[in-house]
Symmetry: C2
């Protein structure tokens, strides 16, 4: 089978690619070809796999050619992140809404030409939820909570959920939208996402670097480890249409955790000296965005697919440490633990 | 003040235009100029008013010029209807989604150039609601019922609700989305809307013509008279931001009525011979679409703006008869009553 991962050079996309290549199959079929599109090339270990083909550049510029290239399945993860979309309104519309529509239309052109209807897993986000004066936000957002996005990013993700549902209804794609929780711990450098600090307050102290937490320790948030997020995307792909249940989006599993719990877990795994590298300095812009996010999420439909979150945040910290230890630059990313 | 009504040549748009011109003011300001855009010219009585300017052609082709033309307020009613959108997927996306976005971007260009932020009332639709295996549809859909559209039309309306909410959050427009119920009794000929028969089973018998009802007499549906629909759009425009409450869409008032109740009302107003002109002949395509519509709607937020539906369908039939009687061709549209 031939698969595509848009955003395949990113953190979640590359991890998904590695997981798929290691499994070798998806939904019972052998993976012969894995196309990774992204604005930057994927990591070298992926490029070294003969099954991988990397296509570098904006997705929108690649969709015209995709009209004549059939795929068995697509994981559509490519996206501009929340902070970027707040700063550049047109970028968000182009990268998130226009690219998704152009991708769906490319697939539709294939299907209209007699091709097979491919499965498309779309990474939506918990950012679709938010408070509105007319719609109080529940503490825990469920699969069927009414979305009221408070960012352009969340708005665009929600619009794409509905777009994909309609292309699915018309049988142009077999689409499944899954709302990712905040994935943590992300490696590398802070990115433009307002949620970036949820990784930074763990990653930086472990590397021996001070980290600033821009919100109160009482802030609670639904997070997911990278491995459980990837497991979720694969399970959503492999689910039968009936098991996925309907065309509305589902929440992927969340561990609902307070910032203070995250730091307790960091201390438990790595010691008090590491935790002491986090200081609190309120950033009104970030705190304002985060205040509009739900403090937790439930995921009943994902649970019926056998998906569950990690039970505690210490396991997520440990996953990050184990992942780093396996990398060539482990001494750099974990030098704070020495 | 300078206003625009997109879809200003259509039934609701022209009635809104007449009502506004008769009032002479909106939100306390004098109406000096009323631009009506539509694919067809507006009725001659509107063209005769010196305040009216008609612009004929697709809205999408007009938006580029609108980038340099400020308006105090816009009623955005232009839309391809549900039946058309099911038959021509691209038409729906272009007429409903692309046109709305281009209109919003034209307004944004004005605002970015230092113009005033105009009020924009968007006519969404009860068609945003529908059943999904994961989300059972309540019998009565409320303002905060989770939408799960079952048509491209409903999907595009819902996407535009969220697009407008985000442009409003960014202060590019002061947007308010109001979900219209099925407006009945529409004059003229059947249109491409799947809901067209909700007018046809009243209009045709009154004109002495047989009418076929494609669904069971037990089918219940939320309807609204033309006058209450127009009153609703104006009240939503005039509401303060606080009174509108939030950025999510609200339902306009609905009279929840069964087809059999509609025919009872027709008989009460116009007699049994008129009612006898309706026969039932199931149309699977129409019945299938209608089966996915809610059987009723509530409108708590609209009620707080002082808006209420007609209390019985006989009043709506009488409104249609009175409207027709005032027209030059009354003898034609009501010849079935003689």
């Amino acid at each position: 089978m031939k698969l595509m991962i848009t955003g395949g050079g990113g953190f979640v996309g590359a991890r998904l690619a590695r997981t798929l290549l290691k499994r070798g199959t998806l939904a019972g079929e052998r993976i012969d070809r894995l196309v990774l599109t992204d604005i930057a090339p994927p990591p070298v270990d992926l490029l070294a796999d003969a099954r991988v083909e990397a296509r570098t550049g904006p997705l929108l510029a690649q969709t015209e050619a995709l009209r004549e290239e059939p795929f068995d399945g697509v994981f559509h993860l490519a996206s501009a992140v929340s902070g970027e979309c707040e700063l550049d309104f047109d970028l968000g519309l182009r990268s998130n809404l226009d690219s998704t529509r152009a991708l769906l239309d490319a697939i539709r052109a294939n299907v209209n030409a007699g091709g097979k209807v491919p499965r498309v897993v779309f990474s939506s986000s918990v950012a679709v939820f938010g408070p509105d004066p007319a719609v109080p936000l529940p503490k825990i957002v469920a699969d069927d909570t009414l979305p009221a996005p408070q960012t352009s990013y969340g708005t665009q993700k929600l619009m794409c959920e509905h777009l994909i549902a309609d292309y699915t209804r018309k049988r142009y794609v077999d689409g499944r939208a899954a709302r990712l929780m905040t994935v943590t711990v992300r490696p590398g450098r802070p990115n433009g996402a307002a949620s970036s600090f949820f990784s930074g307050i763990i990653r930086e102290p472990l590397a021996g670097v001070e980290s600033v937490c821009p919100v109160s320790p009482d802030v609670s948030h639904p997070v997911s480890s990278p491995s459980r997020t990837v497991d979720g995307l694969i399970a959503v792909y492999e689910a039968s249409r009936d098991a996925f249940c309907g065309r509305t989006a589902l929440n992927l599993p969340a561990l609902n955790v307070r910032v203070s719990d995250m730091l307790d877990a960091l201390e438990k795994v790595a010691g008090p000296a590491v935790r002491a590298r986090v200081r609190f300095e309120r950033d009104e812009r970030i705190a304002g965005i985060v205040a509009n996010w739900p403090s937790g999420a439930s995921a009943a439909r994902a649970a019926r697919l056998g998906l569950h979150p990690h039970e505690n945040f210490a396991d997520i910290v440990q996953q990050y440490i184990d992942d780093c230890a396996a990398l060539p630059n482990a001494s750099e990313t974990l030098k704070g633990m020495s």
